[in-house]
Structures are given as C-alpha cells and as structure tokens.
C-alpha cells in the first residue's frame, strides 16, 4: 500500500504530516455489517494537537479507539486497512496490544478514576508496567504526573483519599495524570471536557497545550471553540467519512467543503 499520499481519497486537504507518529490508510470499521468508518486516511504528527470534530454518530470515537485498539474489546467491531505507529502495523499479529496501550494513553469522556486512592490511581500504570524500581521512585512518578496534570497542589495532602471523592474536573485531571504516568507517546482524548464546567474546561485546555510539548494528542470535541483553542490541525468527520483535514486556522476561517462549512457555522450538528 502506498503510504505517502492516498490517491483515491475523497478527503479535502492534506492528510499527510511530516514525521508522523500514526499513519492511518484506508481504514474501515464495521460493527457487524454496519460500516461506521469509510476509508479514512490521516497522519498524526508529533507535538501537535489534532482535533476531531463532526456531528454525533459520525465515527469520531470509533476512529479514535482504533488507534489504541480499544475496539478489540467490542466483539462485533472489525477493522480493515492499515494503521502504523512509528512504521509498525499496530494490527499486525506480532503487535502486543498491552504494549501498544502503554504507548498510547487514553482519556475518556466521563471521568473514570479507579475506585482506589488518588495515589493508587496514578501509581497503577507504573506498577503494572514495572516502571518504578522502588517506593521512592514510584512516589516521584506520582508526584510529577500529578504536577504535570495541574492537580498536585489540590491533592497533595490527601493522596490517600479515594479518587472518586474528587470533583468532576479534578477527576478528569486525575485521569490525565494517570495516563501520563506511564510516559506514553500519544494521548487520545474522547470529549475530555464534556462533563465539565467552563473553568475546569479551561484548565484542561491549558493542560493539553502544555502536554503538546511532549506528546502527540488527539482530541475529540463537540466544541468548535475548544477545537480552535487547543488544536493545530482539525479533522472533520461526517457519516463515517473524513471530509476535510487542515490547519485549524484555515479550517475555521476558510472551510473548503460545504459540509465542513455548514457544521462549523452551526447549521447542523
């Protein structure tokens, strides 16, 4: 398969990126017979935030979940096409799913901390992957992760409290801390702010912007403002197809496809 530029792609805009982490080519996802993703090709670059927008049910979550093979957990889901991470086909038989998920962190729409202490929530990943040699190293990882997630000052005195006792916004930042504790290369976020108020949302957006320095980030969002604020590139999905990709500034000021324009101007969605 030709990786440089898909020829018969109907997507408007340049789907390629220099030195990408992820390369998806002609990806289709089926739920039983129903095709949820049609021939999507896109690159995800390092140190950038890619926003995925589109009306509800267009397949944003489905595509995102292909990237860390979370779709494997849905028996009905079937993925075709090619997805490469650092040149390795992640759907190859030799690819270990557990290892892939350690490299590709995920933050979910609804904050889902483990029903354990704040400390244990963050320490869980490093512990199962054997990242900390001793207790002191683990403490260090927990502290650094919570600091990077901007939660440390709020919880440093109550690390032994249950993670579920935090507010929704704090829980979501805890989930981000948990994801970055295993030092992934990519972080996938599926509507990370949809359950949060504007202040908590602003904090998470700042956080995403900071994290961009170290990770590639994919954010699914329903908020056009959020996409415009945090992302460098934007991908617009419609009914399972990738309609248009481009630099965020360009997409929002000068959409080329009429569906993109209709969506970002609020005529449907």
């Amino acid at each position: 398969m030709d990786l440089s530029a898909p020829k018969n792609s109907r997507t408007i805009g340049d789907v390629t990126a220099p030195n990408p982490v992820f390369r998806a080519r002609e990806v289709n996802v089926f739920y039983d017979q129903k095709r949820a993703i049609h021939d999507v090709s896109i690159d995800i670059a390092r140190n950038e935030v890619l926003a995925m927008i589109g009306p509800s049910g267009c397949g944003k979550s489905t595509f995102l979940r292909c990237l860390n093979r979370m779709n494997d957990t849905i028996p009905a889901a079937r993925v075709t096409g090619l997805i490469e991470m650092d040149g390795q086909d992640i759907y190859d038989k030799r690819q270990d799913v557990v290892q892939l998920r350690a490299r590709v962190g995920m933050v979910f729409q609804k904050p889902n901390p483990f029903p354990k202490t704040i400390y244990e929530n963050v320490a869980y990943g490093p512990r199962i992957h054997g990242l900390a040699a001793d207790r002191a190293a683990l403490d260090e990882i927990v502290q650094v992760s919570l600091q990077r997630a901007g939660l440390w000052d709020e919880v440093k005195d109550r690390l032994g409290h249950p993670g579920t006792s935090l507010s929704g916004g704090q829980q979501q930042r805890l989930c981000i801390a948990r994801a970055i504790a295993v030092n992934p290369e990519v972080i996938l976020m599926d509507e990370p702010c949809s359950a949060l108020d504007p202040i908590a949302t602003a904090r998470i957006e700042d956080l995403i912007d900071e994290l961009r320095a170290s990770y590639a980030i994919c954010v699914v969002t329903h908020s056009m403002q959020q996409a415009a604020r945090v992302s460098q590139r934007t991908a617009y999905f419609h009914l399972g197809e990738l309609i248009e990709v481009g630099l965020t500034d360009r997409i929002f000021t000068n959409p080329r496809h009429r569906l993109t324009e209709a969506y970002i101007t609020g005529r449907f969605g």
């Binding site: 979370m70 892939l100 350690a102 483990f114 249950p162 948990r178 295993v182």
Partner: protein
Amino acid sequence: MSNSVQQTQARVAASLRRRYRAERRFKLYGLLAVLLGVSFVLFLFGAIIAQGAAAFRQAQVTLDIQYNEDVLGLAGERTPEALATADYAALVREALRARFPDAQGREGGRAALRLVSNSAAHELQRRVEVDPSRIGTGERLTFLAGADVDQFLKGKIDRTLPEDQRPLSDQQIAWIDALREDGALRLAFNRGFFTNGDSREPEQAGVLGALAGSMYTLLVTLVLSFPIGVAAAAYLEEFAPRNRWTDLIEVNINNLAAVPSIVFGLLGLALFLNFFGLPRSAPLVGGLVLTLLTLPTIIITSRAAIRAVPPSIREAALGMGASNLQMVTDHVLPLAMPGILTGAIIGLARALGETAPLLMIGMVAFIVDVPRGFTDPSTVLPVQVFLWADSPERAFVERTSAAIIVLLLFLLIVNATAAVLRRRFERRW
C-alpha cells in the same frame, strides 16, 4: 387559554388523589406482607426456642458412692481384665439402696437404677481404672440423671396420670421427690450437649459430633466451590468467546442450579464412593457433593456481580495497558466481591442446611465419636436433626429443637462473617 390551564390543573388534582390512594394502598399491602412474613418467622423461632430451651438444662443426681470390692465382684483381683469386667452399675445401685432402703430385690434395684443414666457406670469404671486405689474408699459424685427423670423434672411427665400410663412408677416418683428435697437432684447447665457426640441415650446425646461434621463439610465446600466458582464466572464473563459452546455451558449451569439436591447425592455416591473409592460418611465426600450443589449458585451470582461492574472501569484499566487478567484481578473482582460474597453465602447457607444428598453418601449413620478429620465418619447438623426427630424417646424432642437452634446460630455466624467481609469490600465508584 387560562380556562384550559385550570381544567388541566383540576384534572391533575383529581388524579393526584387517586394516585395517592393507590400508593397508600400499595404501602399497606407491602406492610401486611412484611408483617405476615415476620410473624411466621417469630412463630417458628418462638416454637423452636420454647421447645429447645429445655435441652440446655439437664437433670443431675449426686450420690455417695462406696467403691466396695464385693459389690464390684473383684475378690482381690486388680488385673486390667478384671477391672474392665467389674460390675460398676452395682456401685450405683448400692448407693441408691443405701439412700432408699425400700429399693429391695431385683425389681427394686432395677427401678432405682433407672433414675441414673448408664453413663454413671462408665464414669465409675474410668475412675477406678485411672486409680485402682479408690477401691475400698468412697466419694460423693454427680452423675447425669436418667432421661425419664430429666423429663419429669421439666414437667413433661404428668404425675397425676395412672401409674401404668407413665414411664415412672409411684415408687420412683417418691424417690425423685426425696432426692429433690435434699438437693441431690436438680437441673443444671447441660454441658454434655455441647461436648458429646450422638448417643442412643437421650441424656448423653450431644451435638458436637454433628457440629464438627458440619464444619469440616462446609470447609471443604467453601475451599472448593468459592475459588472454582469465581474462576469459572470470571472466565465465562471476561475471557470466553461468545459462541455455541459457551451458550451451551451457560444453559447447563442454569439447569444444574435447578436440579434437585438428592440427584447430586446420587451422583456423589456413584462418582466419589463407587468410582473413586473415597470413604463413606466422610465430610470430605459430603463437602465434594455440596460443592457440586453450590457451584452453579456461586457461578450464576458471581457472573451477575461481575457483569454489574461498570464498563468504564474495564476501559480505564485496559486503556492503561493492563492485561485482561490484570483488569479482572485488580479491578473487576474487587468491585464485584460484595456481590460474589452474597452469592457464596447463599450457596453455603443452602449447603449447610442440605440433608438429602448427604443421606445418599452415608452421612446418616449413627456415629458416636466426634470426627477429628475430613475422612472420619460423621454426620451434619441437619441430618442430626432428622435423626433425633425420628427417635421415639420423649427426651429427643427437645434435643431436636436445641439442635435446630445450634444450626440457626451457626448460620447466623456464617452470615455475619459474610456481612463484615462485604462491608470491607464495599467501595463507591
């Protein structure tokens, strides 16, 4: 417009009254149902406790025993064989004759001896064999009274009946009254009920053998059915592919839960006793049979508990790069544990009360010795209840109820342990 709003409000108000009435009616029915249930329970417990309470006290008689060599028929011999065959009951008889000079002749002696349990003779034999120098001396000892005396003291035998319609003669009743007069015969706490095994003599019969048998059996059941059941449930829920085979297994597990328990007893008889040659009447085999019986219950309830764990927790764990097994052991099972424990307790409580399948594997035998291990012949509490309820002697009636009380207490302890464990595992998410 405002007219229609008023109409709507009037209709709502009218329907409100109807709805509240329906709710009050429903609450009343609910309350009645609860009251009915509670009154049945109270009646049942009240009846059992009223009947069984008497068994916790037992008539005891104090006698002055003279270890008379001639009465024992020893004639100077002290060999173990001679000591073992000496007539110890005669010592009791003579002690009674010394107290009641009218107990003469064979008839009188036998009537007097009926006042004291035959365990007295065994007790005396034990004392002499431990220390033969007792022969020629005397001492004051307290023995179990005979079962009829015990029943008489508890008011279960009516002295106003004609003599030939009651188990005690006028003469015996006179002796009993005399003994009571000077405090030699009284009701005391029945320790033997908790320290003895079963016996043909009601006054010597205790519940310890059955209790120990129940504990050994339940331990085997718990140790086998809990891990196997939880592992099977976790496998079926989290690992097994969904196909015709797993559907078949699922249907079969549900069917097994509905199989009458006696069928499991037959299976145990054929498999464990006849095929594997395990010992008959043993708690090990009983536990194995009850494991078969409780497994479906534990598997079904554990699966329900595992299924109730929110999918978001699984996604969180998998998203972190946990393997399936880590997801299950670190997150799903701890969260499902309260539900799993509930299921295990329901299963174990049922196992504790099972009688029928244990009859099939011989745990219904009359066993005097308290079992000391998993392969010793033994019985269990419900079977003991069944055996005593079947006995003709009057004095077994109260023991039957007392054994039920012990069984219920045992059940209560098992349930309370589970409740404590469940509280410890319960967490919010």
